[in-house]
Symmetry: C2
Subunit: 234 residues, 2 copies
DNA sequence: TGGGACAAGATTGTATCCAATTCTGTCGGT
DNA sequence: ACCGACAGAATTGGATACAATCTTGTCCCA
C-alpha cells in the first residue's frame, strides 16, 4: 500500500500531512503557510519545508507567490469546472474496469471505507467524512490497477476538496454515502457498465451541489474574512 | 503562451530544457543527471538544480534515488501500458471538443506544427520531429481550453517520449504526420466526432508500433549498455 | 587468482548564512 | 484627516558549508 518512495522522506511526510489537513478542511483555502511556522511545527529546517511546499504546489494544492510565500490554493470557478471535467473523463471508465476486477478483499475494503465515512458523519466530523469519501474514489482507481490514472485522480480529488470548501452550497444535501453505496452494489455484482453510469451521475450530482456562479465563497485572507463576517466594517 | 510562473524562474527554465532534451531523445533513459554537472551547465547552484529535478521527478521524467542521484526515467512495460491507457481516456474526448472549438488561428497553428514536423523529418532530425509531434497533441489540449487536462496530457506525452525511446520497434513505420494530417482535416470541418475517432485510432496505432513484450530495449546504465552491445563479456 | 574488508574520494542530504524583496508602521506634507 | 515616502522588521530566495551515504580502488588473505 505505502510503497516507500525513495525521494525525500521527511518532505513527503510533511506534504502528506498538510495535504490531509487541507482534505479535512482543517486548512482553509487562502491560508498562508509560512515556511518557518511549518518548519517549527514539524521540527525540521526550512529546506525540507520548501521541498514539501513545492510538491504541494505542483499538485495545485498550494500556490507559491514569489517572495510572498505559500498559500493554500483557491481554485477559481474555471478551475473548478476543469477539475470536474477531468474527473468526468477519468473516473467513470476507471470505475468500470475496477468493478470488473474487484475481488472480495477489494469490496470488503470499500465497505469499510463507507462504514468509516458513516461513523465520521455520525460524529459530526464532516472534515473526516469528506476525506474518507475522497479515499473511496482513490481506492477505486487503485482497484482498477492503473497507478498513473490513480495518481491523476488523487490530485483531482484533493483539488475537489478545496473546491468544495469554496463553493459548496450548504442547502443541498451532498449525501455521498448514498452514491457510494450504489457503486458498491454494482461492484459486488461485477457490473462494470452500471458502475460507469453510477460514477458519471455521482460526479454530475457532486458538481450540481456546488454554486459556481460568481463569488469564491470562502475566507481567503484573515483581513477579508473578518471584513466579511462582521458585516460592514466599523 | 508563456504565462510567467511566479514560482522559481530558473528552476522552471532548467526543468523545461531538460524536459525538451528528453523529449528530443538527446537524453537517453537511464542517463544520470548529476546535480553538480547540471549546475555547472546552467551556471547556477545545486539548490536550483535540485528544485528542477524534483519537478521533473514529479512528472515522472526522472527518477530520484535516495543518496544516489537523479536518473532519466525508464518506464516499465506496465507504466507504458498505463500511460497509453490514460491517454486513451483523455485525448479522444479532448480532441473532440478542441475540434468543435478550433478557430482559424488555431488551425493555422496546428498546420504550422505539422509543417515544421515535416521539415524536421526531412532534415533527418527524428528527435525534433518527435518533439514537435508531441507539441501537436499538447496544442490540441490547449485549444480545448482545458488547462487541467492539458497539463495531464503534457505529462503523458513527455512520458510517451521515454516509452518510445525504450520500446519503439524500428521496423514499423510510425508515420505520425499522416494521422496528424487527418486530424487537422477533421478540425477544419469542425467534425468533433471524427476527431475523436481519429485520435483514438491514432493512439491505438502508436501503441501498436511499440514492442511491449519483454525487454526494455534501451541502454539503462553504461555498464549494462556495454555488456549488451559487445555481446558476451570477455 | 578470487573475494572480502577497509579507506579515500565523490555525490547527495540538510542546515545555516546572507542577500533580496516585501510588509508594516511611522512620519511629514498637503 | 488623508495620502505618499521612508525606515525597520520580517520573510523568502539562493548559495555555501558540513554531515551522511554511496562508490571506487586498494590491499590483504585464503
Amino acid at each position: 500500500m505505502i510503497h516507500s518512495v525513495d525521494a525525500d522522506i521527511d518532505s513527503h511526510r510533511i506534504a502528506a500531512r498538510i495535504s490531509q489537513a487541507i482534505h479535512e478542511h482543517r486548512l482553509a483555502p487562502g491560508t498562508k503557510l509560512s515556511e518557518e511556522e511549518v518548519a517549527g511545527t514539524f521540527d525540521v529546517s526550512r529546506t525540507i519545508v520548501r521541498a514539501a511546499l513545492q510538491r504541494l504546489a505542483h499538485d495545485r494544492l498550494v500556490e507559491l507567490k514569489r517572495n510572498r510565500g505559500a498559500y493554500v490554493a483557491q481554485p477559481t470557478v474555471r478551475e473548478a469546472r476543469e477539475v470536474f471535467e477531468a474527473r468526468a473523463l477519468l473516473e467513470p471508465r476507471t470505475a468500470r474496469s475496477a468493478a470488473e476486477r474487484a475481488g472480495p478483499a477489494d469490496i470488503a475494503l470499500l465497505r469499510r471505507h463507507i462504514d468509516e465515512e458513516h461513523a465520521a458523519m455520525h460524529d459530526d466530523d464532516a472534515g473526516r467524512a469528506l476525506y474518507l469519501s475522497g479515499l473511496f474514489h482513490i481506492e477505486i482507481a487503485r482497484i482498477a490497477d492503473q497507478a498513473t490514472i490513480a495518481a491523476f485522480i488523487s490530485q483531482l480529488i484533493a483539488r475537489s476538496s478545496l473546491i468544495i470548501a469554496l463553493y459548496w452550497e450548504r442547502r443541498r444535501a451532498l449525501c455521498e454515502s448514498h452514491s457510494h453505496h450504489a457503486l458498491l452494489a454494482a461492484f459486488e455484482q461485477k457490473d462494470g457498465a452500471r458502475a460507469e453510469e453510477l460514477m458519471t451521475s455521482h460526479l454530475v450530482d457532486l458538481l450540481a451541489s456546488l454554486d459556481l456562479r460568481r463569488p469564491p465563497a470562502g475566507a481567503r485572507s484573515l483581513k477579508e474574512a473578518l471584513a466579511l463576517s462582521t458585516g460592514r466594517l466599523r
